[in-house]
Chain length 199, copies 2
DNA sequence: CGGCGGTGTGAACCGTGGTTAACCTCACCC
DNA sequence: GGGTGAGGTTAACCACGGTTCACACCGCCG
């Protein structure tokens, strides 16, 4: 799951294609200022290129954002499914696996977390629908696990619980900094489990 | 037509001044689409008026947003201080008071919650600084209480914990709907306390 | 060598949207 | 009853930013 010699059309972390560089820089800028507040020129400048050069790699600014959000949702859904499968049958183990996964993702990609819930509304209707569908499927993974831990709770309550746990873990971008990464991870995981299993 | 001579400069909930109507409509629209995506015309239309009419009540669109965010921060800080004072000396009681307060606020004003952390970056530097200062003071109220409950935790850890609890409670806008208000309030409060006191 | 696809540039185009200007109406008041 | 000021309206102004265009550069392949 690390660097392959890139036979498959440049998707390396070490030597990213220009397209990839743009996507990363854009994610960073979008997270800092909001997608509507950053210009195409800003994104270009961030990778050492002028604004219009972007259009050699993306059809439009909106297409850039759409691809960004779709990727995030896909990564989360795929990762969640995988972690659950690897965790065995005990719902408590599955919960811990999901929590660890989400905590790692949030700590590794605070910018993506921020963009995902701030700029979803800037997408075109069809794109927004696809992203929301992926997000919903991911949430349902959590709901299924939480439902087994709270057998007598309504699905509405379980879903609200899932969203609350996301909110807790995704608070990372707000508290970024002072605490060390492993300490933050341990703290968030502990709190998330406590919140998820409360009552 | 609607104007009612209000002894105290029109700040009624039942019969709000035009200025007040605008602020509320704007908060709603900003929450739904983001401040940069809603036009002055949209805000005007929402209160049955044309766009430029806004300028009879606000110096600019940015001034509108600034006043909105400043009020939120002030209400939170004032409310937090008051609830702590009314809760007595036991930090556990103080925590519960803060949690209940924040839960009520979040459930009563999901739009304001959304706008506050999404559009802070759209403020002018001086306005943003004032809002951040008020927010920081509110956070510090929480930190003080949490510190007494976790005597051997670093301030950085306690601050991260506070942000995580905010994230949990402020998840309301995402899970809005299906569950009844009192049920949601009870669930969020329970989870927040569990997360705040975990370990 | 010569064309060709891929990438980048500066200039120009143009819609959108915040803001201002000029004018209107009407309740209120001396 | 005419002046006044608050609050609206429409039309115009203007800056900003996404997008397109025409052109340049360059590595590569036949």
């Amino acid at each position: 799951m690390t660097s392959q010699p890139d036979s498959a059309l440049h998707s390396d972390v070490a030597n990213p294609s220009r397209r990839e560089q743009i996507l990363r820089a854009a994610a960073q800028l979008f997270a800092e200022r909001g997608s509507r507040a950053v210009g195409v020129d800003d994104v270009g400048a961030a990778v050492g290129v002028t604004g219009p050069a972007i259009y050699r790699h993306f059809a439009s600014k909106d297409a850039m954002l759409a691809e960004m959000l779709l990727r995030i949702s896909e990564r989360l859904l795929a990762g969640g499914t995988e972690r659950i499968a690897a965790a065995g049958d005990d719902p408590a183990d599955q919960l811990r696996a999901l929590v660890d996964f989400q905590v790692d993702f949030a700590l590794d990609n605070p910018a993506l977390i921020t963009v995902q819930d701030r700029d979803l509304g800037a997408l075109s209707d069809p794109d927004a629908r696809r992203v929301r569908q992926l997000q919903r499927r991911y949430v349902e993974e959590w709901v299924a696990v939480l439902a087994r831990l709270h057998p007598d709770a309504s699905t509405a309550a379980v879903r609200a619980r899932a969203h609350a746990v996301f909110g807790l873990i995704n608070s990372t971008p707000h508290s970024a900094g002072r605490l060390s990464r492993p300490a933050t991870a341990a703290l968030l995981a502990e709190m998330a489990i406590a919140a998820a299993t409360a009552r």
